[in-house]
Symmetry: C2
Subunit: 119 residues, 2 copies
DNA sequence: CGGTATCCTCCCTGATACTG
DNA sequence: CAGTATCAGGGAGGATACCG
């Protein structure tokens, strides 16, 4: 998630890194559909470690994009959903993801052409 | 730019990482305005090493987003501009950057509130 | 179930030096 | 001017173990 915040850079970049990070992207897009419990979201995303998902969700929660609802029951139940702010962000990333999907073929053609001139 | 491509992940994610990477974002947004020479772009972006800018531009060129025009003159002159595909990508990132700018205050309020409950 | 704590590895980044 | 080569450091991310 590139959450190191040591170097001097504009604060906007940090927010962009949070929402466009590998797991941030997938979490936001999934949550656009409906709310998820922690493990449920983990299965939905697939191949994400507990540590990284927890870290990602915490960062997004701190930025005010994700709402965390921890119910005081045994066993613990925690639901994650998007805030209004998070929904805006998620729609932007989804659009970017969709653009990437639409243009993927063109990108791969470009890569093949680029590689051909150098092989 | 997270250009390591070792792990198995969907190819779309790689393109997203290229366009949303730290220097990728800044390069695309700058090139949306006009074409730039290498050093000119370096000064415009600021604080980017030659290595990282070259690496970033190569990746974007390979993906078919940036056009590289190397003129056979002494001293070398290389102009970079956006392709049609790159312009589409750049507009998306610019939109995301603008959203971040617009909502930055809200994000910082959320962070302050989040931190307050834990301090 | 929903996390934290710890360790460890890889590779991204930047600095420096060199080249055509 | 526009890069490439090389090296060093540090942080992101995963594996594992443990906890409330």
């Amino acid at each position: 998630m590139n959450m190191a915040e040591s170097e001097p850079m504009c604060p906007e970049r940090l927010v962009m890194e949070h929402v466009t990070s590998r797991w941030g992207t997938l979490a936001l897009i999934a949550l656009l559909e409906r709310s998820y419990r922690f493990s449920e979201l983990r299965r939905e995303i697939g191949r994400v470690s507990e540590k990284m998902l927890a870290q990602t969700l915490q960062t997004l929660e701190r930025d005010g994009l994700v709402h965390r609802d921890a119910k005081p029951v045994i066993p613990p139940r925690v639901d994650y959903s998007l805030t209004d702010l998070g929904r805006e962000a998620a729609e932007q990333v989804r659009d970017l993801a969709r653009w990437t999907e639409r243009r993927m073929a063109a990108v791969e053609r470009a890569r093949a052409a680029y590689d051909a001139t150098r092989a």
